[in-house]
């Protein structure tokens, strides 16, 4: 066994990392998605099958691995969650999808022993029906630029030595041994890295502000409180490559002169909490964290704290309050956390994904980082692509990538509720969660970046992209987000606390058919007031989904209000079930099914529904064998 020090300092051993890339490996995705679909059973089955097949299997990576050995390992999220469990065989370049433990013997015999491909387990592109052998042919992967995610899906998150063999902690070493804090801040500023958590504040400037503070004690916090419903990239990085987060934290701490760091992880992510804790323990054992970091005499501590389920804690000052053991309520800025944060000391808070980019910037230089993306928003961004789209999962693309590329090419197109491709089904994409807005067909060619999205009335947010098809009611979506922010408002600002409640009530009026022109006017007026009258990002952005849907789907709102009609049929109160007089044969099945005796009619004569009594439960429509009940 090599000590951490030799793994880090001996360049020949670092070269072993690239040799190891040639080692044959079976990598089983162990992200939350694949685990839910039985990835662990697949892993265990591989272990037993490979043991009985005469292959030389190694479970732990060693620098001196022999050529005929096959390494079996778990990895973090490989991103293609819907098709899990995923099994990759490298360097053969094969990706098997939806692998069950019954399939394992075939993979071991055909692929590992005979070098053949098990055709039935390959991914078939639903649009072209082409079978894809590996990542290069798979449009979901081939069109991405995976940097942060690549390592997530390749390294064993529970093996610090593997991370180190692939050059891990090299950037942290460089930051501690070769660079001064000023140089680190300067490099990050030159790279143009912007916070991936939502606001897009330049990371280098934040660090510089904290660095120049005169204080003996400073803190760095990693924001892993990914509360945005529909986003899960931070979870994937923490689960898949926890050491890259720790390394980023160490570099940030070195840059501002802090010796205590903290990772605040959302409590809904138990696996991420466990893996982060394990990574911290491993780093302490290897002497990377501790009293004497890289022989510089500097100390470095890292703690992992579990959140307790409050969306508002994603806001910097609320998170600090939460860490201090208080209710997570934001406070006015300034003073900014960089001046006075945790326990009144200078503190910087960076998103998980931001920190994951830091190591690469230090390793490859700011120019390489800047070389992709747009001028104002350099680098790549991870998006969680979900909703009515064929390929759901994690997508990493350069900033400036058009929406069309992500939804139609990487995502493989829009689907209907049953999951079949629906060519003309695209309606909207909700980006940025409850703080963001909608993008419509006119935005398909818009390059996704901080500025372009702001001008379209949306925001990058943490990067959740929820695709919605024509069957989705936009008023209901606005209501969904409003219900969320109303529930999550901490209650400090009156306009946020009461305003969101009233906005929700107004949206309910629209959905339930009680609205008129005044409702729409009031909705808009109140939404603007909440934006202005709230302290933190939650309240300031809470009305965004309403304003954005009203801007792009005004007609749909008006249909609800003036015609009392929902074109998608999702708003139950607006349904007008009627019996088609020409079709109805008067069999009486609907009369028996109706729980409120709302249906009357002579036998063998067309029946009628009394709208006063009808509760729109749909029982009649289900009972009718000839589909004579319409409008429900």
């Amino acid at each position: 066994m090599h000590s951490a020090e030799t793994l880090l300092s001996d360049p020949t051993k670092a070269g072993a990392g690239s040799q190891l890339a040639q080692l044959r490996r079976v990598i089983i995705c162990a992200g939350t998605g694949c685990m839910a679909n039985g990835a662990m059973q697949v892993f265990e089955r591989f272990k037993s099958e490979m043991a009985g097949s005469g292959l030389r299997v190694i479970l732990e990576l060693r620098p001196e691995a022999a050529h005929d050995e096959v390494r079996l390992s778990k990895s973090g999220c490989q991103g293609f969650c819907q098709m899990g469990p995923l099994v990759s065989v490298v360097p053969d370049g094969i990706l098997y999808t939806k692998v069950r433990s019954e399939d394992v013997p075939d993979i071991v015999r055909q692929t590992l022993t005979d070098g053949q491909v098990v055709e039935r387990l390959l991914y078939k592109d639903p649009a072209t029906r082409k079978t894809c052998r590996g990542l290069e042919e798979n449009p979901f992967y081939a069109r991405q630029s995976r940097f942060v995610l690549h390592e997530c899906g390749f390294l064993d998150p529970e093996d610090i030595r593997e991370y180190m063999l692939h050059g891990g902690y090299g950037a942290a070493r460089k930051a501690f041994v070769e660079m001064s804090p000023e140089e680190i801040c300067k490099t990050i500023m030159e790279s143009g890295l912007r916070g991936r958590g939502g606001g897009g504040f330049p990371t280098g400037r934040k660090w510089e502000a904290a660095r120049t503070q005169n204080s003996a004690k400073k803190y760095v916090i990693c924001n892993g409180d990914e509360g945005d419903p529909g986003a899960f990239m931070n979870r994937s990085v923490m689960e898949g490559n926890p050491h890259s987060v720790i390394e980023g934290l160490m570099i940030a701490a070195r840059a501002i002169g802090a010796n205590e760091t903290l990772v605040y992880v959302r409590a809904e992510y138990p696996l991420a909490v466990a893996r982060m804790r394990r990574a911290v323990e491993d780093a302490e054992r290897e002497g990377i964290l501790g009293k004497d970091v890289f022989g510089t005499g500097l100390s470095m501590k890292c703690e992992v704290m579990e959140g307790a389920g409050a969306f508002v804690c994603g806001e910097e000052t609320a998170m600090i309050a939460s860490i201090e053991g208080q209710r997570g309520m934001p406070r006015p800025k300034p003073p900014f956390p960089a001046q006075s944060g945790l326990w009144g000391k200078p503190t910087i808070i960076n998103n998980v994904e931001t920190l994951a980019h830091v190591c690469r910037i230090l390793n490859e230089g700011p120019e390489v980082f800047r070389s992709i993306g747009t001028k104002e928003s350099p680098g790549t961004k991870t998006f969680a692509l979900t909703g009515h789209v064929a390929n759901t999962g994690l997508v990493e693309v350069p900033f400036g990538t058009p929406l069309r590329e992500i939804v139609l090419n990487i995502g493989g197109g829009v689907t209907d509720d049953a999951g079949k491709i629906w060519k003309t089904g695209f309606k909207a994409v909700q980006i940025g969660g409850p703080s963001g807005g909608c993008l419509t067909e006119e935005h398909l060619d818009l390059g996704l970046a901080y500025e372009s999205l702001r001008s379209a009335g949306a925001m990058v947010g943490s990067g959740g992209l929820v695709v919605m098809n024509q069957g989705t009611c936009m008023v209901s979506i606005a209501r969904f987000f409003m219900e969320f922010t109303q529930r999550e408002s901490c209650g400090k600002c009156v306009l946020c606390r009461e305003g969101t409640k009233q906005l929700l009530a107004l949206l309910d009026d629209v959905i339930e058919g009680r609205a008129d022109q005044n409702t729409l006017d009031l909705l808009e007026k109140l939404a603007r007031a909440v934006q202005v009258g709230s302290l933190c990002g939650l309240g300031k952005t809470a009305p965004n989904p309403v304003l954005s849907t009203m801007r792009y789907f005004r007609q749909e709102y008006e249909e609800h209000v003036f015609e009392k009609r929902c074109r998608t049929g999702r708003c139950k109160a607006l349904l007008r079930p009627e019996i088609n007089q020409e079709k109805c044969k008067g069999c009486g099945l609907c009369v028996k099914a109706c729980p409120t005796q709302a249906i009357t009619g002579e036998k063998k004569q067309p029946h009628h529904i009394n709208p006063e009594l009808c509760i729109k439960c749909g029982a009649c429509a289900t009972a009718c064998k000839i589909h004579a009940v319409e409008g429900i």
Partner: protein, 191 residues
């Protein structure tokens, strides 16, 4: 019940054990008020919920007003002030799950178990049905979590089938030999 003294004994032992555990949790966090959230998390991990008397005990031990402890306990969604059922079913109602029809799943489960928005737990304390903002498994939407096991691409029918499976298991435990269930009380009597 013939063995009333034993029952009283057990209750007392239970009370004692309860505060002993709380004390050890408090000690582990050095009784610092700043550690309030991790302390409450550890207590909830132990008891599945935060009993009122434990919260006041925590406030006294940390030397902070009870209002602050209750303030924190009621602020965060993760803290439960009422006991939960033996099996906790969490339905994800994040955006992705919502557009992929998570509500019908929720309604089917509520109908099956007779729970509602207000009464989340069944009277027999077997099931708790609750919604959660996002579990981060959006690729598998809609998702439910039953006792920490994630089930993806769920349908109302499959969700109900899962509940029926658990119910069947519970019934088989109930009809299992009664002696096994009585053993702890015998031990308690000896102690």
């Amino acid at each position: 019940m013939a063995s009333t003294p034993i029952a009283v004994d057990r209750a007392e032992n239970f009370e004692k054990a309860k505060f002993e555990k709380v004390c050890s949790i408090l000690n582990r966090h050095a009784r610092r008020p700043s550690g309030l959230i991790p302390i409450l998390q550890a207590i909830q991990h132990e008891y599945q919920y935060l009993p009122e008397e434990v919260l006041t005990y925590v406030a006294t031990s940390l030397d902070v007003p009870a209002a602050r402890v209750f303030g924190v306990a009621t602020f965060y969604a993760h803290f439960a002030l009422e006991p939960k059922g033996k099996h906790v079913i969490r339905i994800c109602d994040g955006t992705a799950c919502h557009v992929k029809q998570s509500l019908p799943v929720l309604n089917a489960l509520r109908e099956k178990l007779g729970t509602s928005e207000k009464n989340k737990t069944t009277p027999d304390m077997l099931f708790t049905v609750e919604t959660v903002a996002c579990l981060g498994a959006c690729g598998l939407a809609p998702v439910i979590v039953v006792d920490d096991q994630v089930y993806g691409q769920i349908t109302p029918a499959r969700a109900v089938a899962l509940v029926e499976e658990i119910e069947a298991q519970e019934r088989s435990i109930e009809t299992a030999p009664v002696i096994a269930a009585e053993q702890p009380s015998a031990e308690a009597a000896h102690a």
